[in-house]
Subunit: 335 residues, 6 copies
């Protein structure tokens, strides 16, 4: 017997017009015996047409998605769309409210728990609902990420290397429609539990991004998210009008890049981090890119870290304190 | 009877050469009955001459000071100086190690506790030591701040409006020697407990800064701190050579600005922050500069915040989650 | 291979007389490598006859069960019974000791984890033991609940709508034997993991209650629990004597009520709660029953909540601070 | 030099009309470097006349004051008053928001810290502001308390035995104007640090209450607070109209009672509490009033506690878990 | 499909020479989005020969293993071995760094979670890696335990009663090669989840120890671990030279003992523990061995605990505060 | 005006016989509005004679005092004494109950807060009471310390170098009457806030000890405390009978030793500690006594620490994890 979701929704996915409501996940805890955790959801529908699922706040400390999608919910006119847009601006709402990557309720990283569990803790229940109830409705999914409090990226949209080459090509075209400064092709090796994997397994288009980070936003990165998401809605024919291109905004075209296994540099030392190169700067393999100083002994020589490949620095540790095993840098090459 | 400090130092302030050691503040706690908290200190001395006290990490989540001063400790050749440099790169060392503004040991904000207390908690003991033992040795003090994890500033050095106009002029000249992008004249109203106030009360020059923030650093802000501190050492004749000027680096001269009481904008609402203007952008009084969205109700109209004066945005909230009472923006005018 | 329980009992279920002992659940933790969590259990037996399992403290902040069953353990004379009474007065003993709904050891809500797991955390181990070892011994189970710290109920005993109508009728008669002020027929939709469900799945009678709440007790609610449990023992022939009826006490007969899906009102707003009606008061659909005030802005109009059905208020939020998603009120109709 | 308060107010105490704003207490912490804690305050003024200061939420888990005063702020029409009403509905606002007796910011019990400290932690700063800025403006003060999460009282208003008999008589008349079910004369021995003491030291009338408790409210206790506060405003001539008397509501007149040192019963044992008498019940000296059961050994005889004096139970421990030293009961006699 | 481990190793198990590196277990958390937990591992190999896996710090508060194995890593000369030694000196590295029995990351007791889970939390991932990747490489395993912070043992090595008598005999001989003061034969009843069980299930030799405890070490217990591990390497022919015997050190031969179910005494009372016999002292069944005093009532008679069997005290509670269910004493007999 | 203590005692210091009761320190907190912290105290009196004050548990993780004094309270027959014995077996009772050095209520180290503060937090209130109420009653004080969880000492009693040579001689004789294995003369430099200092300032005899440590006890160290305290009572003529001498027990006489400033060795490195010498072993200046290993890099050479003076190791760090600044060793010389 399939276990049904314990989650209830205050919105009706089949109704025309705009609804802003909640998913309610039962959460019985010391302060609230019959309480529920609330996850905002909006449904904007007009007649028939494709369905696009838009998510932000999959990690709770990444803010371009939550802000851009909240603005979208408020601005989108149902009369101007054809089909359906389902928006969860704060996918891991308790984490967004706490400003943390993972949920403060159960400590679960939403993006490592798909396809979820209907009898699991709150985050797992929600992942299960998204997977079992929303994903079947969607033709395409955009999951807007940023670097979070611990990382900072030069803004990019990304598509995964897939065995299904037709799906990969559809995904690549959608990524380009998003019209990001950088379009990255990544081969991910450790993918179990992500929303991405489940969308792709279902044979559907997934566009993901990394837009800035550090637990902050700028007008530029929010603008990028807003424009990108609207372009995707236009690309899939849900929103009327033509995508707004980088060319039309006087910007350089999307730079196509790739990141392989040697893109990543991690630290073996805990301490105080000094990055030696800035985001977008060119680096060559073997070039020193970071120093880690010993906080107990400021007179001691720092540990030195080097690039493992040629390319450009497109991601870095945001924080200045690092622990052994932490990510320091991501270096991508032009495709 | 004056209570002596309980702190012991492993360095000798009268010895020539370079010493890197510790202040040990007795800290008897559950994990260490006869333990001590360690605060790194370096003394670099060569013969007679002025003494400069350099401090970073007064707030533990501000990193330009700790990194630039650690590098200075390692690089400074005693043979090239005349006089004495005392460096505390991590003034609130337990806070620096924890990555927090205030000390994790006693919850005390170092920069609100001067002149300290010899029988107080660890942070108060250290403030007392700095005030009673180091300040009398110093001719000038540079205390390197940044925005910390919760704020971000367009880099500036600052001098306070003082009743002692001669000291104020000496301070202003020292600030210009630091050669920052912006030189700010501030009238602070709530100054009790700061290191600044105590230095100025003692009739000594104090240069302070706000260099970036957000709990991160860049090559530019670290460079600014390194160059500024060396320039100060040269300005006071402690280090040989001429200050390295912005002109010599092809940079625009320091921009002189002022911040009055209407410079600051705070929020009355808790929620998700969208800044509408970026650092360094011009703003005019009444212009909307920020929106705060309600996390429980993404369909609700955000609260809107406006500039209270004309000027340029030189500081902003770094975080994207704000609580009622939080700082949103700082707007300064050209002097 | 079936995994055996790791739990050991200091009582012998087959022995005549009264034993008060423990279940010991291995709990290896930082403070006790080879420690065990203790769960008090009493066995009172005399010859052959039915076995009744009585549990209190399934949620650790509900006190009528723990107090009434502790008194029963101390008072019950084995010579006066025929059969066996197994009592766990503090079913989730670590939660009872901490005064919390869920276990402080593993954060698990005992009443959502049945049938448990022999290799799981402490609460799951105990649930598994109760399910696999005690439930097979029992002919009927009474699980005494109250509202806990977050809710308050007008005292009732309840029986679930079951597909097995014969069992439902036996359960209804047992509920009436408990002789509560209100006898409630509830259709529960979200039942996975409860003790109730497992007892009913096993084809056995389950009587449950909600007696007051708010983390306190009164002489009336404790008396209700004591009398009810003794009446049940008499109803099943375990204890000698006739049930003490409400009529014999000069009380009005049990009021039969039903609660459907529209019985529950939850809040969409966090803030300060003002209930507008008291327990037992009649309400009509659409009537305002609660206001929620904004704690940041006491000048702002409160959110208003309304009854969704006609009936009587039989449950309410006990706390005065509520969060979005929290339970506000339960409204039942006369059957 | 007198240290000025670091607190700023957004309201003008001299302005006619109704203002709802904040006190902002600088609170520099890890999440907000230049943040402030906000304490709501309302000023309702019309021409000249007496000033009454009304406070609720002195302890953050006592809710009649916060709710009744929030409603008063919203309802009071400046045109109907003569003089000035200053309302702080959440005197210890961070504690009210957290639902705790003491402030979560500094762990300070507001009502033990008067006259406060302008350089102290947030709660002390606010106490200093209330004492040095608001108290001089006030002719009388009403501070609305309840039992909080750990105690429950039969609703009463109270006045202290004072050496200044004239002030005591004025206070007694004000207390009667509040028109409570019980009017209590208490001799408090341990009064250092309370708002009461400071008001009385200043020779001004103080009315305090204990209205229910247990971390909840009822329509009756909120109504009592609302009516009482309005009656006080009328008693002092600030609000027009005659006080609404208990007689006019068909209620019995205020019962005058006294509580001496033998009124209080505390427990020497930790464990599970069973109260043997209910609020308002008569008790005689030596009568058993409570049992405390051992949570580890439910088979062990409970500790028994007795009344120390004749009288009526007007206060009790709300919680069912008690620790050695905890309050169990308060017994008052008719005056 | 078998789920692959998410863990990567920086060492190559097939390479000759000495490598000291890490296992990196992905650990995405609030402070480090793409971070990893690091588990030190050393591989010392020379040509062909048996593989021995040596682990310490399975529980993080047991220090003989971590110190002795760190010294072994530093001292072992690959030229002197034949075969391979794989050393994980801090098997539960995050727990060792925190000084806690279980992991501070996920609260998991490493030695209760074998064979682990490749998609589980960090500790489970590592257990899975050890089980699926390292155990197949090993011919024998030594897992060095001590009493941890809560227990203290008279140093012994142990072997389990096994159904496979040939393996049991090989294990017994290996235990004797370790040459401990006491060699214990134990029948363990609750073995699910231990490393021991998995090694024995795989038909391989497992030697385990309990060397002291209390969260400390002595030169004697570290020496015992160092000598024992080298002796094992010699016993299996991996290290050259003959085992260093107790006889050659002038010590009494290993004392062979057995511990049955009646070896263990636990407490039913929480309080202050006074042990009445010291480690290694003889005890007889029924002899008082411990008193537990009531911390609330120092005038009350203590609870008294007795030995359940004749023998010698070889283990005791280290701490002086005990809770009901805690281990008090272990009593073994001569074999 | 002197502020009176807020503490009440349930014992009468002037009454003959044995009383075991409490000091109650008002402690209003979130769980108990009118609660009190309880500090056990016993008064055993018979007629006139000297008064001796005995305290244990000044630090909550030191157990010889609490156990020996609890046993003394239970065993002492008032008929056999002449004068008065006041015993506080758990001076910092909340810390004893929590097993921590400092109080869990306010984080205060009792032995750094004398002479206390009547309006301070709980620990300060108690220190004030002991200083202002008990100390004036006492002719001599014995404060029984051990090493606590973080240190371990070879058992000694100690006397301070005092300017008042007559008092010092009286103290020395009392120390010898305690009859410890080692009698230590210490010059303490950092004494502000200790009970010792206040007793000595009052011109009274103070005997203090360090008996073992590590958060545990042995029959030997408890016996030492029991015998020593009784000997002191006999030395001062409070208890009848002659002191039980080491000679009469067949033990070597007390060894007289001194500890100067160079007695102490602290660590500059955090990591895993290996002590190279055991308690009581002879060491010579410059001899390596400890290694500290880097937990992140087990392949790295450890830091090495050396004795600063000749002598014998009489104290060491108990824990195996150390942080920079922690105590490693105490080395004393024969006097």
């Amino acid at each position: 017997m399939t276990q049904h979701s314990r989650i209830t929704a205050s919105v009706d996915y089949e109704k025309n017009g705009k609804q802003v409501g909640y998913l309610s996940a039962p959460h019985s805890h010391n302060l609230s015996g019959w309480g529920a955790a609330r996850f905002p959801i909006a449904v904007i529908r007009n007649g028939s047409g494709p369905t696009m699922l838009l998510t932000g706040g999959n990690h709770g400390d990444e803010y371009e998605g939550p802000i851009a999608l909240t603005k979208l919910i408020q601005a989108l006119d149902p009369a101007r769309i054809q089909g359906r847009v389902i928006v969860m601006p704060f996918l891991n709402a308790p984490a967004v409210a706490a400003g943390t990557r993972v949920s403060p309720i159960d400590g679960v990283n939403m993006n490592r728990t798909f396809p979820g569990d209907p009898l699991g803790t709150v985050t797992r229940m929600v992942a299960h609902y998204v997977h079992s109830r929303l994903l079947p409705l969607a033709d395409a999914v955009a999951d807007i990420h940023s670097g979070g409090k611990s990382m900072f990226f030069s803004p990019f949209a990304a598509v995964h290397e897939l065995d299904d080459k037709a799906l990969m090509e559809k995904s690549r075209r959608a990524m380009l429609a998003f019209d990001p400064p950088i379009g990255l092709l990544v081969r991910e090796l450790d993918v179990a539990g992500t929303l991405d994997t489940e969308v792709e397994k279902a044979g559907k288009v997934l566009v993901t991004t990394e837009l800035g980070g550090g637990g902050t936003t700028s007008t530029a990165t929010i603008g990028l998210a807003e424009r990108g998401v609207r372009n995707l809605l236009r690309h899939f024919g849900v929103l009327d009008g033509a995508p707004e291109t980088r060319a039309s905004l006087g910007l350089k075209p999307t730079r196509l890049m790739v990141a392989k296994e040697d893109a990543y540099v991690a630290t073996d030392h805990s301490g105080l981090l000094e990055m030696l190169v800035d985001l977008d700067a060119p680096v060559s393999a073997g070039q020193p890119i970071a120093r880690v100083y010993d906080l107990e002994h400021p007179g001691a020589a720092p540990a030195l870290y080097h690039a493992r490949s040629d390319g450009f620095l497109i991601g870095r540790s945001h924080g200045a304190l690092v622990a052994a095993g932490d990510f320091l840098a991501m270096i991508a090459r032009d495709a």
